[in-house]
């Protein structure tokens, strides 16, 4: 099976400033990967390059089957449909219910069959432990529950890769554990997960491959201790 993310000597730029250089890494299907590093170390910039929010200017990158060097503007929506993105601040639509949040994204990504849409919503709510919350408005949910909706939304199109940028940054430790546990369970179903975080306690709870970013490059990668699992 080919790698979901395959980077070779990639440099990441933010505007015209070189943020990271010489990044070479591979993420396999079902792998749980952590990007760690201080604020400003380039974690978010690297993630944004993966979903084509920042242009790839140097190196070779293949993400979910798309060659980022050859990527055309019109291909970007389709690349992103194969990637699920989880935001730190959830970015839910505050004026509609949980179900409608999911249905809205389905419509935006080309779903047409209403019965299939309804079934998929139920499936996602079950998977993320939100079976009874479908009719609730985002403000009626706790932070952890809102992030679960964010994860459910990221899963809509059965992505090969989920990118989570500081998904527990706005959550208490208990909710954070719940979210990372959920992401770990999803990875076990075959979806690759990349999480940018500096929550090392969570990494020790849910081990995975760690890439540490510092001084503009990946200074080491390791498999975190699974004995704590």
């Amino acid at each position: 099976m080919s790698a979901v993310v395959d980077l070779l000597d990639v440099s990441v730029f933010h505007k015209d400033i070189l943020v990271l250089r010489g990044i070479t890494l591979k993420v396999e299907p079902g792998e749980l990967v952590y990007l760690t590093g201080k604020t400003g170390s380039g974690k978010s910039s690297l993630l944004r390059t993966l979903y084509a929010d920042l242009p790839l200017k140097a190196g070779q990158a293949k993400v979910v089957g798309y060659d980022l060097n050859q990527l055309r503007k019109k291909d970007i929506p389709y690349l992103r449909r194969k990637i699920g993105i989880v935001f730190q601040d959830f970015q839910l639509l505050s004026d509609r219910s949980v179900e409608d949040n999911l249905l809205f994204v389905m419509k935006a990504t080309g779903w047409k069959d209403k019965v299939k849409m309804k079934m998929r919503v139920e499936e996602l709510l079950n998977l993320t432990g939100l079976e009874t919350k479908g009719h609730k408005m985002p403000h009626q949910l706790s932070g952890g529950e809102q992030q679960r909706v964010g994860v459910a939304r990221a899963l809509i199109n059965q992505p090969e890769l989920i990118i989570a940028d500081e998904p527990t940054g706005n959550l208490d430790p208990e909710s954070s554990e719940g979210i990372l546990g959920l992401l770990r369970d999803i990875s076990r179903l075959g979806t690759a997960i990349i999480v940018a975080t500096h929550n090392y306690r969570m990494i020790s709870l849910f081990p995975g491959t760690i890439y540490h970013l510092s001084q503009g490059k990946v200074i080491h990668s390791e498999i975190s201790d699974s004995s704590l699992e």
Partner: protein, 294 residues
């Protein structure tokens, strides 16, 4: 979280009020534009009518035979600039003058001094002074034609006036357009600005640019439609009241011109906000995340 929801409500209320103000303002601008358009179209119609009824008289020498003049008339009738020709024999001319004077002038003159003539009416597009000069020269080349008579001053004055009226109305309509675009642009940019993060989220979940733009553009078309209908009601009311006060104006009524104005207002009304939405959304579709916070 509750405060975010309250903020959303306040933003929505402000936007609703801004939408309403903009729709009414656009309706008023469209109303004035419609009025100017109606005046302009009627002025053009009137000018067209006058131009098509301008009389050109070609007088023929006494020696010219009627058959030759009629042959000349026939050849003129085949040219693209002629709308109508009428042959008036010396006898017909004499009868007409007798009717006008109320007495028989040939009695004391002892003969009929009037020549045969052709009364010509041109198509309006050929009544420009330059065209008329060329036609006059061409007609005069015929040795039978001794004199061409028409109201030279009226033609140049008419053309000048139509040009001035068209120019003034066009400038005013353009000004109205600038005002309406300015009005809409402000509110629409505010409305789209309030949804900039939604646009960003939609882009990140894989929505196409067309899908993101569609509801905004539809909203623009709807707002424009309502404004156009409002402006038409105002215009209809004004026309009805005016015709009731001055019944003679009903003679100028022209359903086709009214339909043209209605169509133009509808098109303009819908196009302006839809374009403004299109441009405003495009701005956020192309914007980098760092700029969304400013």
């Amino acid at each position: 979280m509750k405060s975010t929801s309250q903020e959303d409500k306040i933003t929505r209320r402000r936007l609703r009020s801004a939408y309403l103000t903009t729709m009414v303002s656009l309706a008023l601008v469209l109303f004035v534009t419609g009025l100017l358009l109606l005046i302009g179209l009627h002025a053009r119609k009137l000018a067209f009518h006058v131009k098509e009824n301008l009389g050109f008289s070609l007088y023929f020498s006494k020696s010219a035979r009627e058959a030759e003049i009629l042959r000349f008339k026939k050849s003129l009738d085949t040219t693209p600039w002629i709308r109508a020709t009428q042959y008036i024999s010396p006898e017909d001319a004499s009868d007409l003058l007798k009717q006008e004077l109320g007495e028989d002038f040939t009695d004391f003159l002892g003969y009929n001094p009037l020549q045969a003539s052709l009364q010509i009416k041109l198509k309006s597009e050929w009544t420009h002074p330059d065209s008329v000069k060329k036609l006059e020269a061409a007609w005069k080349k015929n040795p039978m034609v001794i004199y061409v008579d028409y109201q030279r001053d009226l033609i140049s004055q008419l053309n000048k006036n139509v040009k001035t009226i068209s120019l003034v109305l066009s400038v005013l309509i353009l000004l109205m357009m600038v005002v309406s675009i300015g009005l809409m642009n402000n509110t629409i940019r505010l409305a789209v600005y309030s949804k900039r993060f939604l646009i960003r989220s939609m882009l990140l979940v894989g929505a196409t640019r067309g899908f993101i733009r569609k509801p905004f553009v539809l909203q623009g078309l709807f707002q424009g439609f309502i404004s156009a209908v409002l402006s038409m009601l105002l215009l209809g009311g004004l026309l009805y009241t005016t015709v009731r006060q001055i019944p003679e104006l009903s003679r100028l009524a022209d359903n086709q011109l009214l339909m043209t104005t209605t169509g133009a207002l509808m098109l303009l009304g819908m196009l302006v906000p839809a374009t403004a939405y299109w441009l405003a959304v495009n701005r956020y579709l192309n914007m980098k995340i760092d700029h969304l916070y400013f």
